[in-house]
Symmetry: C5
Subunit: 264 residues, 5 copies
């Protein structure tokens, strides 16, 4: 069989550290959905602190990329993962209604300098028609990403009013697999904390799984344990947001996370 060159494969590879085969990404897109939150009032200062620590990549909104693009205009700077959708699950409208909208196409994201893009596939909307629209939007983005060789990270999650607060490993593995079948290059998924559920998730998902963080735990030891457990059970890395930067010294927080991911 001949070797096939794939530009998006090349770019997926650049999101991982060769020595460990893992990736430590920082999500700094919380303010897109929630507005100014603690330790992210000044978007640029927070961004500088994150970049200084040197994670593999940072998740940004289009606006923050525009304000802080120069921080990433450097040979060794973290890669830019641009969020291209706006998942409203109880947040923006402050009404509880669940909506999903696109805020950039893959081609627009690439034109802005993105090295990869991220969007949600949410299982659990109260209106199944919106769920179907979300799924269609993921497929459409996947096809467009393939055409321009841009990696697509799908945040495949079990959220929404039909799910309530449950964290069901089987449901998570199901939506992760569907995201991969639709064409995601990487999947960002919830880790229930149960090692065997992480293993089942990683084993049944044909593309690398990165674990998301959620609300700040404010407990570094618990965070380290959570991270190591996920990686030990098949996760290929993390995409943490508030657990990385929502603290007094964001650089230290991200450095500590990098150490956990790559140093162990």
């Amino acid at each position: 069989m001949t070797t096939v060159f794939s530009s998006s494969g090349l770019r997926v590879g650049r999101l991982f550290r060769r020595e460990t085969g893992l990736s430590c990404m920082v999500a700094f897109d919380r303010t897109l959905l929630a507005g100014p939150v603690e330790h992210a009032i000044d978007a640029r200062r927070a961004c500088e602190a994150i970049v200084a620590a040197g994670p593999e990549a940072v998740l940004l909104s289009p606006g923050v990329l525009k304000s802080c693009g120069d921080l990433f205009a450097d040979n060794r700077a973290p890669k830019v993962v641009l969020r291209i959708d706006y998942p409203m699950v109880g947040d923006f409208t402050l009404t509880g209604e669940e909506h999903h909208r696109m805020i950039a196409t893959p081609a627009q994201a690439q034109a802005m300098g993105a090295d990869a893009v991220v969007m949600c596939l949410i299982s659990g909307y109260d209106d199944p028609g919106r769920e179907a629209d979300n799924l269609e939007a993921v497929a459409e983005a996947a096809r467009q990403c393939e055409a321009i060789g841009l990696p697509l990270i799908v945040e495949a999650v079990v959220w929404g009013s039909r799910e309530g607060g449950r964290l069901d490993g089987e449901r998570i593995a199901r939506v992760a697999r569907i995201a991969a079948e639709l064409g995601a290059d990487l999947v960002k998924a919830q880790f229930t904390g149960e090692a065997e559920e992480m293993r089942a998730l990683a084993d049944s998902c044909p593309v690398p799984v990165l674990v998301l963080g959620g609300a700040a735990m404010n407990d570094d030891e618990a965070l380290a344990r959570f991270t190591r457990d996920a990686l030990a059970s098949g996760a290929r890395g993390v995409i943490f947001g508030r657990n990385a930067w929502q603290r007094e010294d964001a650089t230290a927080g991200v450095e500590q996370l990098i150490e956990i991911v790559h140093g162990t």
Copy 2:
């Protein structure tokens, strides 16, 4: 009359074995709708097992084609039939609501390496407006397939809440004919088990009819009988999924099916 060259005719021909005029295809798109299911947890291993048996073609989701494309990058490998729609009839949303969405255009499928595409025409949705949208999507895909010479297989089925569990031969023949009138190059249809209904279906459908399998029977003799009955009554082949690979030795399962189709 002059002979007319048709690129999609050429490609339809390549889906059949010249000696028998029949086609044995394997559907491996179940996990797109249902997530990881038994014997398909590891998508690549299952795919390797299927390919090893050498069916005429394999039905895949875009994501599995991306993960396993190299298995098909070979002169004698099975052809790739890409699923370009996402039929939600009680499955994805887990709510019972019926929706239908596209996940690739024919041109995108062809760009990904597909030799043919498959999509559903479903008769029986509870909301007739969605049925009408499905029909329009089939027609649109047919026109686009014609423009690029790509064969379109329409899975013309009687499903959905308006139908319940019925398996009505007349209704099946009706939707199959309508699929062909809309421009399908091949029709994938349900076989009720009644030989005369298969004959009526094949006789009234102006394009070749391939029979689908459904849930695993776990009874190889019944499966063989079912297959031979269909072929004896006019079916031009089969597209079986779980009945082919959902077993300990998927390669053996597919080889046995090929033997039934072409060896008799």
Copy 3:
């Protein structure tokens, strides 16, 4: 005033026989909506029988054109009129809901070899918003047909739940005129059987009116009388379906109809 060349005018002319100025067309698109019906189970055989009689044109679905295109690939063969819409008025969904969808654009129809296209303008839907959408689709097709010089036949009919079974000459003339105002090159309309209503319809419609047939009468004398009455009162031809071919000898049926139209 200078003479203006119009490619769609040229093509409209080719749908009529110069000697009589009339047109005898056969509609073979019933199976698109109803699936296999008596005497049309084998689409190709029915099509061969119709073509053998030599009408001016035959109305086909995209799928039948694909299966039987070779029958029309001849200098003297009937012209191909492709149906480009799918009017659901109690038919496809079998639920009674009324929907309307497009199944080809004029440009796609032309690329497939169509000499003209036909679509419905239906007055009487229970949902006036769908009626408005239908009207907009007719206008859009008319503009596209003009751009590529393809004749558009609008089947301007009073159907649907708001109309019930009425056959009101004034309403028919109204929708026919509106179809012509929107840009139809030819109008296919219902004939109530009343000569003065046909005359009023023909006089108030700025483009030629062709009469449609409806369900098989199974009475050749009544059919001949119906046809002659329409032509004597201003109709420029007929587009008959089941009354032409739904019989043992379809060729004879169509030949007889041609004789009535052109021989009198």
Copy 4:
């Protein structure tokens, strides 16, 4: 300041008579909405009669332009103003529901030979969402007209179920100004009959206002008075339909109107 050339300005100028600075247009688009009406049964004969009188322009539907285009293919013939929308306010569907649809784009109208286009901006729909859609369609047409230098006449009217039969000068002036702010080159508006309301309307509208006629008054003296009052109070011309041609001698009717507009 330099002089700026504007192709749509040039074409707007051609709709007015230089000597008087006024315009006398005839609206012959009634049959698009209402089907055959008295004195317009034969579209071509009515059109010939109107053209013979020599108004500045005639409003036509796409279909009538196609049937009668040769009448306008002459150096001195009236200009063609094509209606590009279909306002359903109690008319087409005969149900009372209010809908609005486009039947041509400005570019399609220009390709058909139109010298200007006309469409409605209706204030008073029972469904404000449809009102918003209408407004958006006007803005979109304005932008497209600017791109191709085609004058856009907006019929800015207070109609619909929310307004009832009222004829409120303030409301009329409001919608006329909004039409101009959206980018109309000319506004076609209702004249309440009150001189000071016409003056207020003309003064507050930054583009020329042409007065519409409505149902036939069947009283030539009243019509002349109505027309002179409007022009004396700032109207830059008229666009009359049934009051011009719905009579035994349409040519005389239009000639009389031209005399009133330009001769006084």
Copy 5:
């Protein structure tokens, strides 16, 4: 790090006075929504008066730009900021229903001569689905503006029936930040009158904030205090409408405002 040239950055710079780093803009788009209002009956005269005072820029509707474009065709004339949306929050339809529509694309605005564009992001619609559509439209305009180097000003406001008459500083800062995250180059926001709320808003918004004016105060001293308070707490300028021109001498009103902004 290399210096990066950005055409939209260059154009944003031109909207500010270099000496003070501030911008004094005049909004003259009220009549687009409300029709003729006092002191804006004659659009051109009002526009001339505003331009004569020499603010940095004037907000206009497409129609007024077409009527008064020559006033801006001058080396030293104010820049043109074109409104490209139509926010209906209790205004146009006069029914209380809230709708949002686009009236120009950024590319169309640029073709018309706009130096920047403005549109609303409204938090508080009664229907959250419309809020989501508004947000998507802002993101889409932002991406298109980036592609053509045109500055986008987002009017990020807390309006609508879900908000009532409240003026909540935290909510205002939230929607301003979200506007910037979506990609606004400048934000136009409400000032509650509380200095610390203005400071929090300016500090948490990564792009310059311009303060809007609202209804005429008819109290020049209060207006000056309001303006100085905003600027002292971080606002980078003002976009005032009725408070600038809705008075006997509009030129004097705007000159006075410029003096307050730049002279202090």
